[in-house]
């Protein structure tokens, strides 16, 4: 329990503050990916691939333009990938190569704060990333490229933050387990990419087996939940499913992260 409540302690905020300070030092380069990625993806998937589906795509029994189908999926996928990669590579580099954690642990910061600092930072970074992507989507809508219910975008932000924290908790497990940075390929190819593919982010899941598997995938519920909000359809079922899965992930994975990283970092 103490491990979970450490999220609210000042030390966790101090760790987040450190990461934010580094991010703001490099803000000009940090801003580029969230601006360029959605533009590239909308051009490639929405306009490029979508051109082959001029009549749209069937979703929840109705036809929607493919670019409108892709845009909420893009927000979900960006949430997943940004949080996971931050907690995999960013955290691993700070732990293993920069020894930032070891320096922090010689102060009043405890390991539980380092873990929460990484999770909350991944959540914050992902949320800012998605907020920028949302602005780009709003710009595209203003140009007539998209038809989304933009008034629901503010609801997306807190959902993305919690989801990113849970995904980061998953990423930190791998960070604690992989022996070297080269071994990151294992969780990426065995877990991250399969979860990304079986999620209905960029294409609907027609196959019944994939559809069944996807019900246990939080990214699927995130994609469908955001799609429901932004396209105007049932979002409640997916958001409730998402809330349940994220709660389970956080309650199980955060203490597990702390246990695994205690062994890895402190040797205890």
């Amino acid at each position: 329990m103490r491990g979970l409540t450490a999220a609210l302690e000042w030390q966790s905020r101090a760790v987040v503050g450190r990461h934010l300070r580094v991010y703001l030092k490099n803000w000009h380069t940090s801003f580029l990916p969230p601006v360029l990625e959605p533009i590239t993806l909308l051009l490639a998937f929405g306009l490029g691939l979508g051109a082959y589906m001029s009549s749209g795509i069937e979703w929840n029994g109705r036809l929607v333009g493919y670019i409108n189908f892709v845009a909420p999926g893009m927000l979900a996928y960006a949430t997943f990938m940004t949080a996971i990669f931050q907690s995999l590579f960013g955290a691993f580099i700070r732990m293993r190569y920069q020894r930032t954690w070891e320096g922090q642990l010689t102060t009043q910061i405890e390991l539980r704060h380092v873990v929460w600092g990484e999770i909350l930072w991944a959540g914050l970074l992902t949320t800012s990333y998605v907020a920028i992507v949302s602005l780009v989507l709003s710009g595209c809508q203003a140009l007539g490229v998209l038809q989304l219910r933009l008034e629901y975008l503010p609801l997306v932000i807190p959902i993305v933050f919690v989801a990113a924290c849970a995904f980061a908790a998953l990423g930190l497990c791998f960070t604690a387990l992989v022996p070297t940075i080269d071994h990151m390929n294992l969780p990426i190819f065995l877990v991250v990419l399969p979860v990304g593919f079986v999620s209905a982010t960029y294409f609907p899941l027609g196959h019944p087996v994939l559809a069944a598997i996807s019900t246990a995938n939080p990214l699927y519920h995130l994609a469908e939940g955001l799609r429901g909000l932004l396209l105007g359809d049932r979002a409640g079922y997916h958001l409730a499913g998402l809330a349940g899965l994220l709660a389970v992930m956080l309650v199980i994975l955060v203490p597990l992260d702390m246990r695994l990283l205690r062994k890895r970092v402190l040797g205890d």
Binding site: W10, A14, G103, Q108, G267
Partner: protein, 314 residues
């Protein structure tokens, strides 16, 4: 809150550890270690590799929790309020743990942010430390641009940014050239004079002898000697060390002489034997080998290390 260290020594010790035990990976690494450090005192923690120095130090500064035993700061059990205890500590680890994303100045500023109550007037404190540790010229540089000696200075400066009362230095001069080592010694001396309690681990015997007011010697996880450097050497080794070339025909007789008196194997270094002896034993040795050429010198901590590395030695 009182942040400036007092030069008036309190009645009791600043730090006291009793019967510390730690197992790591199923192996008993620290086995009932006791130690004491007073304000204004440097406690040298010595021992060969694998003796349990760093693990003991890590328990003392809260990095690891002890399996058994107690750590007290000014008489209070630190486990009751570890966070408050850690506010009083400065830690300089063996490895450099700078934040490579920040400059020298920013490293000090960011470290100050990891303490509550916040250190007062952080900017002034950082300027003061940069000046004192001769780092002002490099304030805007990244730590990796610094030489080894200046990196160590930055590590120590960072450990002091919040005005701690107890400082842990884990092998602070390893890998430094003699000039940089002496500079670190001067800094340590100055900090002691200001009333900081300092716990120091080192492999350099001259460093331990010069800097330490008290020594605690560890071997295989246990305290094997404690006291002033002079008394530890006396207890562990005796008053004299006989040094002789180990290539003479009388060497088997010398070895037999050691054996019959329960003094174990001689400490051999590059064909030279170093025999720690008491005054009585030296007189006996002189009587037993009147024709042998040898040198007699006072013992030093190198002898102690050699002896600890040869546990069968008497």
């Amino acid at each position: 809150m009182k942040c400036v260290p007092s030069v008036i020594k309190p009645a009791g010790p600043l730090l006291e550890a009793r019967a510390l035990v730690k197992r790591l990976g199923g192996r008993l690494v620290v086995d009932g270690v006791d130690l004491v450090c007073h304000a204004g005192q440097v406690l040298g923690l010595l021992g060969p590799n694998g003796a349990g120095k760093t693990t003991t130090l890590r328990m003392l500064y809260g990095f690891l929790s002890a399996d058994a035993g107690a750590i007290r700061f000014e008489g209070s059990d630190v486990s009751r309020d570890l966070n408050r205890f850690k506010r009083q500590l400065g830690v300089c680890t063996q490895e450099d743990t700078f934040d490579g994303d920040f400059t020298v100045r920013q490293n000090l500023e960011v470290a100050a942010g990891y303490f509550r109550p916040r250190p007062p007037e952080v900017r002034r404190r950082v300027d003061e430390l940069l000046e004192r540790f001769a780092l002002a010229t490099y304030a805007g540089d990244k730590p990796e641009a610094l030489s080894g000696g200046f990196r160590r200075r930055l590590m120590i400066a960072r450990a002091l940014v919040h005005r701690p009362r107890l400082l842990f230095l884990d092998e602070p001069t390893t890998g430094l050239d003699p000039q940089a080592r002496v500079a670190v010694w001067d800094l340590v001396n100055g900090l002691r004079a200001e009333g900081l309690g300092i716990v120091l681990t080192t492999h350099y015997m001259d460093e331990a002898e010069r800097l330490s007011d008290a020594l605690t010697v560890l071997a295989q996880g246990k305290v094997v000697a404690h006291g002033t450097p002079k008394s530890v050497l006396g207890d562990m080794l005796g008053e004299h060390v006989v040094v002789l070339e180990a290539d003479g025909a009388t060497m088997p007789a010398v070895a037999a002489w050691l054996g019959t008196r329960g003094l174990g194997e001689p400490l051999a270094v590059l064909g030279v034997w170093h025999l720690p002896l008491s005054g009585e034993q030296l007189a006996d040795f002189a009587r037993s080998f009147p024709a042998l050429r040898y040198e007699v010198r006072p013992p030093n901590l190198d002898d102690l290390f050699l002896k600890l590395a040869l546990p069968c030695a008497g």
